[in-house]
Amino acid sequence: MTVLQASLQAENLRLSVGNRCLIDDVSLQLHSGEVVALIGPNGAGKSTLMRLLTGYLQPDQGRCQLAGKSLADWAPQELARTRAVMLQSSELAFNFSVRQVIMLGRAPHGNAHHALAMQQVMEQTDCLSLADRDYRELSGGEQQRVQLARVLVQLWQPKPLPRWLFLDEPTSALDLFHQQHTLRLLRQLTRQSPLAVCCVLHDLNLAALYADRIMLLHEGKVVATGTPSEVLTAEILGHWYQADLGVNLHPESAVPQVFLRQ
């Protein structure tokens, strides 16, 4: 497997709406086997960038290639089996059960391997106990777990093919246990299979603990990129977030941990 086949390459992406430049000349790569965290202040363009990388929005300029093929050239079903996206929240109007919602993720796969995929993923995501509940009656955090299961089931394949998973703040409504559980799971999946995870995170300490690389976005530009210890410095964060903060070393792992000053 060449590097090209296992990576997403975006070059000089640019997108503006009216006079406002939302994404300004962003180039990046996502390789399978890594967890990349997108961080940045509100309105930095994190979700918009994700929509460009997933093919939901077309850039005004630049191009985005997945496994060596331009996003526009992918057949929709094939693309859906190769990359999945979890949004901040998904609401349903009708009484779908949790199992039915997760099963929607298998739609691009025809009739193959549903039972195995469902069983494995529901165990991994701690959704088995929710299986027969009405999705609408779950708490926000439980709904996020179900949506995570849905996107994982969407990418589940018996063969280890390169796949890409995009998540927009997947932990925003989760309790501590499930934040840890989710990010550990994502990290573990990238280690076991050729999966690339790109994740918008607001919690910088989670990003420091679980991401291999961090990209800091500000007003549509990537202003810092690198390992957690390269990006999460008091100087960089203080400058771009305009917050009064400090950075310590994690007492157990050698990663930075950010704290706010009182």
């Binding site: 859906a80 990359r83 949004l87 609401e91 779908f96 039915q100 929607l104 739609a107 691009p108 009739n111």
Partner: protein
């Protein structure tokens, strides 16, 4: 259907049971409806008569087409209601409430008052075509509005009220300028009745409604995916705009065909999918066929009652379904724990 095996074992069996139950009820209702009416025509009596007997004539030319028409129109109305609710992601979307039926009615009124000279069979299709055009125009307007309002329910229903009022006023103007014969034709039609049922009407209606229903069944899987929202559905490989347009066209066709032959019959498209969802769940692969069967049962029942309750006269069936559906709709809105 190996995909269904993983969809919770108990869920698979329940929808199948409900569908079979509905089919049995429909069959029973059909037999009863064929026997009863202003003139009771039991099969035993019928079979003892020669084929050219008057009773056979009545049964073949009046009773049978009417019963079948009730079944087909009921299918179409309930199915279009279920599709629209799925499309708008809103349990209150109903062709009547959103003004789609009245849009169809307006266009039919236009054709009646300003007729084109066409041969009779085509003239019937021209009603269909007009009703289809009317329901399609209103569907597109309402759907566009719902896009901008982010599916805001009150906006949608207010738009429906406005469109209903507008179409009502326009129909008023048309009746005002129409001559006596047109007025009679129009008022007969607009009462919402199946009494005009004849073989040609039935064939025309069936030739549109049955294929359209089957087509919606084929789209049911994608309609399920649309429930996650446009963006999520896109990520699952659905061509969202195209699917929405196909579904909108089909539901407009269903409403149009139903309105063209029977006038506006309300609430079937609202009540039936809602009841079915409580029994078989929200999976449109079961909900759409179930709604079609349920709608057929309800309209057949209502029409049989309309024919027999005040025999030898008959009530407009639209009146009966509204009497039934109105209170149900109120309950739907007012019941405690309503989410929207």
């Amino acid at each position: 259907m190996s995909t269904m095996t993983t969809l919770a074992h108990y869920r698979v069996s329940t929808p199948v049971r409900v569908l079979i139950g509905l089919a049995i009820i429909l069959a029973a209702l059909t037999v009863i409806a064929m026997n009863s009416g202003a003139l009771s025509l039991p099969f035993r009596t019928l079979l003892s008569r020669p084929l050219d007997d008057n009773m056979w004539q009545i049964w073949l030319t009046i009773r049978l087409p009417r019963v079948l028409l009730a079944v087909i129109v009921g299918c179409g109305l309930a199915c279009s209601g279920a599709v629209m609710q799925g499309l708008f992601r809103n349990p209150l979307a109903d062709p009547g409430l959103l003004g789609i039926s009245s849009g169809a009615a307006l266009f039919v009124a236009l054709v009646i008052v300003m007729p084109l000279s066409l041969p009779p069979m085509l003239a019937l299709y021209s009603h269909m075509f007009a009703a289809f055009a009317g329901s399609l125009v209103v569907s597109l307007i309402v759907f566009t509005l719902s896009r901008f309002g982010h599916g805001n329910l009150s906006r949608l229903l207010l738009a429906g009220i406005a469109i209903n009022a507008l179409c009502g006023a326009a129909v008023g103007v048309l009746t005002y300028i129409s001559d006596d014969q047109q007025l009679r034709q129009f008022s007969l039609w607009s009462m919402g009745s199946l009494s005009q049922a004849q073989w040609p009407t039935l064939v025309v209606a069936a030739s549109l409604i049955l294929p359209a229903c089957l087509a919606t069944f084929c789209l049911s899987r994608r309609l399920n995916l649309l429930q996650l929202g446009d963006e999520d559905a896109h990520y699952l490989g659905v061509d969202v705009r195209r699917t929405q347009l196909q579904l909108l066209l089909l539901s407009a066709l269903l409403v149009g065909a139903a309105v063209a032959v029977t006038g506006v019959i309300g609430f079937i498209g609202l009540v039936i999918p809602h009841l079915l969802r409580m029994r078989v769940g929200a999976d449109h692969r079961w909900l759409l066929p179930g709604s079609a069967l349920g709608g057929a049962c309800l309209l057949l029942l209502a029409d049989t009652l309309a024919r027999t309750l005040v025999a030898p006269a008959e009530m407009p069936v639209g009146l009966l379904t509204s009497l039934l559906g109105g209170p149900y709709f109120l309950w739907l809105i007012l019941r405690p724990g309503t989410r929207r």
